[in-house]
């Protein structure tokens, strides 16, 4: 049962990075692929209906840790305290910027939210990536499962590199998503970006794979799934050049999933490695909840999760269409939340001054 819940949590993190990964990528790239405000809006609207539901994967991963492995949750969240404050800051400014950037006109308002969105989309995957790297590489943990280090102990080279790798995959994943979901200039730029980012990302994943093997003392030759991750990242360059965006996106999905899974597979049966002493490692056994709790949680998850997958999948089906610049024409969210495309002639300052004042 403990093993089952470790797998569940690993899958939730993987699902989170696969789904929210391209949202992070789009958040990072919207300023690069979009030269004008409407192009940036086009990019953001590709993930508009999806990002919020995707982020819940992280929330459930966290809550699942709390419920199934309270010892892991407690040590990790208190140990990574300041990093988590920073992560919350990133997730907050990012989430709010999606909703608020379109709520007013004005270049300064939009640019501010654009910058916050980019910053949040950079920091969030970087920090979670660093945290995952720390779990595997080990941080100072004492005899009572207490974190004994400080904030700077978290910034070890291997962990930082995991963070960087994850960010790079997010960039690649985001650009193949944009190539798949947009038309026109935005699509062209996204494709160019994907072709350039693919070799760099593949190199990073390769280094990550070797470094991970070294970290866990298994020589230098990466395993099968790491090789798959590298190949998937390289393949993107050809697939995009070939105009097969769907396949390119599938490849970045594979690259992301295998990279995140690598960490969890190498972690098991530990959940958090102690750099102080191997005997102090946190494991699935010494941090887990009681069998009764795990049983209750399993029943709930087995009953509900397929339903969640069903309606989230349906969301992707509903919004499967590419978004063209013409879709957004006349639909300034500020002026016409009612979608009165062109029907309403916006008076000067209609959005700026409270109407009628």
């Amino acid at each position: 049962m403990q093993v089952f819940w470790f797998i569940v949590i690993a899958l939730f993190f993987t699902g989170f990075f696969v789904l929210e990964g391209f949202d992070f990528g789009v958040g990072l790239l919207h300023g690069v692929v979009g030269k004008t405000d409407s192009e940036r809006r086009l990019a953001i609207n590709t993930i508009g209906p999806l990002w919020d539901g995707n982020e819940v994967w992280l929330i459930v991963a966290g809550a699942g840790m709390f419920a199934a492995f309270p010892g892991w949750y407690a040590t990790m969240f208190s140990g990574f305290y300041l990093a988590l404050v920073l992560l919350l800051f990133a997730l907050i400014i990012r989430g709010v910027s999606f909703e608020y950037r379109g709520k007013r006109e004005g270049v300064r308002w939009r640019r501010t939210w654009d910058r916050l969105m980019t910053l949040g989309s950079l920091l969030a995957p970087l920090l979670i990536g660093v945290a995952l790297g720390d779990l595997l590489h080990g941080v100072p943990i004492g005899a009572n499962q207490e974190y004994t280090g400080n904030f700077w102990d978290l910034l070890q080279p291997y962990a930082l590199f995991v963070g960087l790798t994850i960010v790079l995959i997010c960039v690649l994943h985001g650009s193949t998503f944009l190539a798949l979901k947009t038309t026109g200039d935005v699509r062209d730029r996204a494709e160019r970006l994907a072709r350039r980012a693919a070799p760099i990302t593949a190199l990073a994943v390769l280094i990550f794979s070797v470094w991970t093997q070294v970290t866990i003392n298994r020589g230098v030759i990466p395993g099968l799934i790491q090789v798959a991750a590298v190949l998937a990242a390289i393949a993107v360059a050809w697939l995009i050049a070939d105009g097969r965006e769907g396949w390119a996106f599938t490849m970045t999905t594979i690259a992301m999933a295998t990279t995140v899974l690598t960490i969890f597979i190498d972690l098991y049966p530990r959940v958090m490695v102690s750099s102080t002493k191997a005997a102090y490692d946190l494991t699935v056994q010494n941090t887990a909840s009681s069998p009764y709790t795990l049983k209750v949680m399993t029943i709930v998850a087995v009953l509900l999760f397929p339903v969640v997958l069903l309606y989230q999948g349906w969301t992707y089906y509903v919004f499967r269409r590419r978004i063209a610049p013409s879709d957004l024409e006349g639909q300034e969210p500020v002026r016409a939340p009612a979608g009165a495309a062109g029907a309403e002639t916006p008076g000067p300052g209609a959005a700026e001054a409270p109407a009628g004042d």
Binding site: R41, N45, G48, P49, W51, D52, G53, E55, V56, I59, V60, A63, G64, F66, A67, P70, G71, Y73, A74, F77, S78, G79, Y81, L82, L84, V85, L88, I92, I93, G95, V96, F98, E99, G102, K103, E146, Y147, F151, S289, S290, Y292, T293, V296, M297, V300, V308, T315, V318, F319, L328, P333, A336, P337, A338, G339, A340, A341, A350, P354, A355
Partner: protein, 463 residues
Amino acid sequence: MTKLDLARLQFAATSIYHFLFVPITIGLAFLVALLQTAWHRRGDEAYLRLTRFFGVLLVINIAIGVVTGLVQEFQFGMDWLAYSRFVGDVFGAPLAMEGLAAFFLESTFLGLWIFGWGRLSKRIHLLTIWAVAIGAALSAAFIMAANSWMQHPVGFSINQQTGRAQLTNIWSVLSNPVFVWAYLHVILAALVTGSVVMLAVSAWHLKRRVEIDVFRKTASLALVVLVPTALFAMMVGSRLGVIETTYQPMKIAAAEAQWNTCQPCSFSLFQIGGGKEDMTPTKIIAIPHLLSLLATDSWNGQVVGLNQLNAQYQQKYGPGDYVPNVFIQYWSMRVMAYIAGLVFLLGLWGIWLLWRKRVATAKWFLRLAVWAAVLPFFMNTAGWMLTESGRQPWIVQGLQLTKQGLSPSVNTTTVAISLSTFVLLYGVLAVVDGVLMVRYSRKELSPVPEMDDRGQPVPAMSY
């Protein structure tokens, strides 16, 4: 300030802030769903315009509610490590269920609702807003189940080996009497909040005499929802008080600053003094028997005083001071109850005007209704202070003291940095949200959206 003070302050500040947005989200989600249902049923386009109008207000608030909810989930582990370890087995389960059962539902369908205009059929699109409302209400259910367990722990045993609480019966946790009544209370308060805000916005437009026929509809809807929910919220709250007298007598005794046992007990409208140094406060206007009635549900019921309770607790749990902050208890209870009363009276006044068909022209009523928008937020905050501060010094009633729940490995500076970060960030967000809320509340109602050939509004409301 000690680490304990800072950690408590951080939890209090972030929770209170989070709960400014939760009730308005739940309340408005149901009201907007009702508006859209009215459009669907009657085909009156005014309801479509209103759905869109209030939908924007809903979305502005959900955004902050969602992101600040994240902080809550993380904070248990960050500041309250010992607590998380001690209760994770019981307390984590409802949180995880909340994510799976409610949060996925709310977030996914919110995206579908915002972006689904014209892409989904009218009927399915209507279902999405109901899914959002139900998801929001369900989410509150699991959180309240977890919180109620801290007020009155049930369905668990203490593992002798690990010394930790262990879940033994999930049904006891989900049928905890404190949970059932507190959850009803919260949902009713959320509906009160949503309807007062809707009433206030409608009143502002009616006062300016634009779109009278349209905003009269939302004013009526808000009033029709407000009056019964405010009444029931007070009744359920009073029932909850009786239950808490059984499980958390300190909380109720402190809410009256009742230091010594009384029978029958009077309720003071307000008083001077009553703190630890002044155990015989000057009650201004005392209503005989009312406290007995509120706390014990009987005319001559006995309320055990704080001194007597403290002696009992010392015998049971060892030496210490088990009295919560009396000043906070006394005043938060009154702020909550008095505002609920005020809002209820405003609602009755509105209903009377509605009946006389004068609601759109009653100047003073409209003027007051606009300002009433801020009241529910004070009411909700006071309610939480009453229940959470009243649990002190316990983090889990009778099982673990708040000071024992802290993270030993976290130092004071870290908490201070984190607290200041959140205060600053939340402050800025409050200003932005406030500005946007006022701006969008005062915006002119958009005309009927363009319809496509299927009679549906064209896709819109994108970012």
